[in-house]
């Protein structure tokens, strides 16, 4: 016999909780749904008032995103002959022909190189630094950790001018390397702090056992600590990637051509005839890599492999 009775939530309470949760979920996902939907609207549907919830989907936005187009006189169009592909047909409605690919593909690729490059570097350096801070007697350890954190206490863009001048002197302006180094520098503080927390949680006994089992300190780190830190490394990588992927201000300031990433490029599409569906299509596609990356690493986030092997 238990001395306490356990109160079950009433049906009304369950309903209220359910409605709140679903309502909140809808509220947060609504802008995303709107962006995705706008990508499949025609330009006139996209700016229709009242907004159209039901519309006839078209790939016009995506075609416009990936191409540059030229308007032609009816005579010139006559000369070219009827459109041959589905995307030709879409642009022909506006008396236009496709004159070449847009720069979206390049910019997207730049984002991939810079985003993943800086994420790899932040996590790699962050793991080594976090391990050292977690395990070794580092002089002024607390002060150093605070200093590392303090680099995030102002918005990074506050030092934009010095960085701009520095990059110009070093020839790093508008280069992939420059952007990777910059995003790594910004992300490193977050990565060191997050990873130190995760590595602190891994009992030091495992490395001691490995040291006695005939391994060097680095081998013990690599063979014993790293496999147990995957959860922390995965979540840190996701945070670093999201920052580098979405960063706008530095990208506007420091890149213009070769190394320009997608975020500063996407808004420039609007300039060409208020093409909101193309902007929405660009934003939608831009979401995909981060989502895929997060889903791929999800199983590492959920798995607590260190559970239970050390008696406390």
């Amino acid at each position: 016999m238990s001395g306490y009775s356990i109160t079950e939530p009433t049906l009304a309470q369950k309903w209220i909780a359910g409605v709140l949760v679903v309502g909140y979920a809808l509220l947060t996902i609504l802008p995303l749904i709107w962006i995705i939907a706008t990508g499949f609207k025609s330009p006139s549907d996209a700016i229709a008032y009242p907004p159209k919830v039901v519309f006839e989907p078209t790939l016009e936005g995506y075609v416009n995103l990936f191409t540059t187009r030229t308007r032609m006189s009816p005579e010139a169009l006559e000369e070219i002959g009827p459109p041959e592909t589905w995307y030709d047909r879409i642009v022909r409605q506006y008396d236009m022909v496709i004159s070449g690919p847009s720069r979206y593909g390049e910019r997207f690729l730049n984002s991939v190189v810079i985003g993943f490059g800086s994420t790899f570097l932040s996590v790699f350096l962050g793991t080594l630094a976090a391990y050292a801070f977690s395990r070794f007697k580092v002089p002024l350890k607390d002060d150093l950790m605070f200093f590392i954190l303090s680099t995030r206490m102002m918005p990074p863009i506050a030092v934009a001018i010095p960085i701009f001048l520095m990059f110009r002197q070093l020839g790093l302006s508008d280069t992939h390397l420059g952007m990777i180094l910059l995003y790594t520098a910004v992300n490193l503080s977050l990565s060191v702090w997050l990873l130190k927390g995760f590595i602190d949680e891994i009992p030091v006994e495992y490395e001691e056992a490995a040291l006695i089992d005939g391994y060097t300190r680095f081998q013990a780190f690599y063979k014993v600590v790293l496999p147990q830190a995957t959860t922390g490394i995965a979540s840190t990588a996701i945070f670093c990637l999201i920052f580098a992927w979405n960063e706008y201000a530095f990208a506007v300031l420091l890149t213009s051509g070769t190394a320009q990433t997608a975020p500063p490029f996407i808004p420039t599409i609007i300039g060409v005839g208020k093409d909101w569906p193309a902007v929405a299509a660009g934003a939608t596609l831009f979401l995909v890599p981060v989502m895929v990356f997060t889903i791929l690493l999800r199983k590492h986030l959920l798995r607590g492999i260190t559970f239970g092997a050390v008696r406390k």
Binding site: Y206, E208, L211, I212, D213, G214, V224, G308, R311
Partner: protein
């Protein structure tokens, strides 16, 4: 296998002296048990020999050579940790193979397979080899941890309470097994325990630590029969040695304040009257709890004793040990 020599080794953590000037020679092939309560410096001593802690002063030599400058790997010792420390991301088989795959040994795959099979057989874990290390019971984990030490043939085994999580039957089996392995290999073994049966049955030498100092080192028999102090006398013996004022019986030497009486050193049937306060039947023996002038006293008697609570018996000491008030031993006639 090798002789291990500690030469006035000290280690402090902040203000706390964990080990204080310990000198000890562990002969080649010896099975040395370190006894002492929590915080006496047993584990720190092991860790300094293993190379996981650096002594503040003093020297550690293995096989006649100082190893202070060596990494743990180079010292070629195996250690069983109290917390098992099995690698959680590996299977039992991979855990056992781990030391043999180290860059120092780099054993062949067939050799590794053979050693794992041998060790798994001895420790009765063959059926668990492909389990994840985290999917084992406490006792199984502890056996795998012992196995990980046994797969190698190191100069020295260090074991920190390796049998503490086993049930009574398994513990008795493992005790015999460990002792057999140790004498078969001629291995030198340094072993930390609280368990006096382990100390008495397995050890060739016992070292008793008190607040970081080695207070006595000798054979288990010597430690039991001829303790250097009251503290050492209380470390071994079940039930514990009885402590009484020295004046309770005649014959105490000058300067003695306390008398130590092992339960088996109390003769029943003659001497002073004591009251029976409790009778514990343990099956093979019976413990009598007595009160003598208000001092509690525990002694052993035969399993089928007719004595009951409230009875009165006469008791007389036989070969008592005498101690000064500070606990130092006072040898009669010395």
């Amino acid at each position: 296998m090798a002789e291990v020599v500690l030469n006035s080794v000290s280690k402090s953590f902040g203000d706390a002296k964990a080990v204080d000037g310990v000198s000890m020679t562990i002969p080649d092939g010896a099975f040395v048990v370190l006894l002492g309560p929590t915080g006496a410096g047993k584990t720190t001593t092991l860790r300094m020999i293993a190379g996981l802690e650096r002594p503040d002063s003093g020297d550690v030599a293995i096989a006649g050579r100082s190893v202070l400058g060596d990494t743990p790997a180079r010292r070629n010792v195996a250690m069983v940790f109290q917390q098992y420390s099995l690698y959680p991301h590996l299977t039992v088989r991979e855990n056992l193979a781990f030391p043999l795959r180290s860059p120092l040994i780099k054993a062949s795959a067939e050799h590794i397979e053979r050693r794992i099979a041998e060790v798994a057989g001895v420790l009765q874990i063959a059926h668990k080899l492909d389990n994840r290390a985290t999917a084992l019971s406490g006792g199984e984990m502890q056996r795998v941890a012992i196995g990980r030490a046994l797969v190698r043939k190191p100069q020295l085994f260090l074991m920190d309470e390796p049998l503490s999580s086993l049930d009574a039957k398994l513990r008795a089996d493992m005790r015999i097994e460990l002792k057999r392995i140790q004498s078969d290999l001629g291995a030198t073994l340094l072993y930390v325990t609280h368990d006096q049966i382990e100390a008495m049955t397995m050890a060739t030498h016992v070292g008793v630590l008190d607040k970081g100092r080695l207070v006595q080192f000798g054979s288990p028999r010597e430690i039991y029969e001829n303790p250097a102090s009251l503290y050492v006398a209380t470390r071994l013996g079940q039930p514990r040695i009885n402590t009484l004022p020295a004046g309770l019986f005649a014959g105490a030497p000058a300067g003695a304040d306390l008398m130590g009486l092992r339960p088996e050193h109390i003769r029943i049937g003659e001497g002073r009257e004591a009251k029976v306060t409790r009778v514990e039947h343990l099956g093979d023996q019976t413990r009598l709890h007595l009160a003598l002038d208000g001092h509690p006293l525990v002694t052993l008697t035969d399993a089928h004793t007719p004595l009951a609570t409230g009875d009165t018996v006469a008791v007389r000491p036989e070969n008592p040990l005498y101690f000064a008030a500070a606990g130092t031993r006072i040898i009669q006639g010395a």
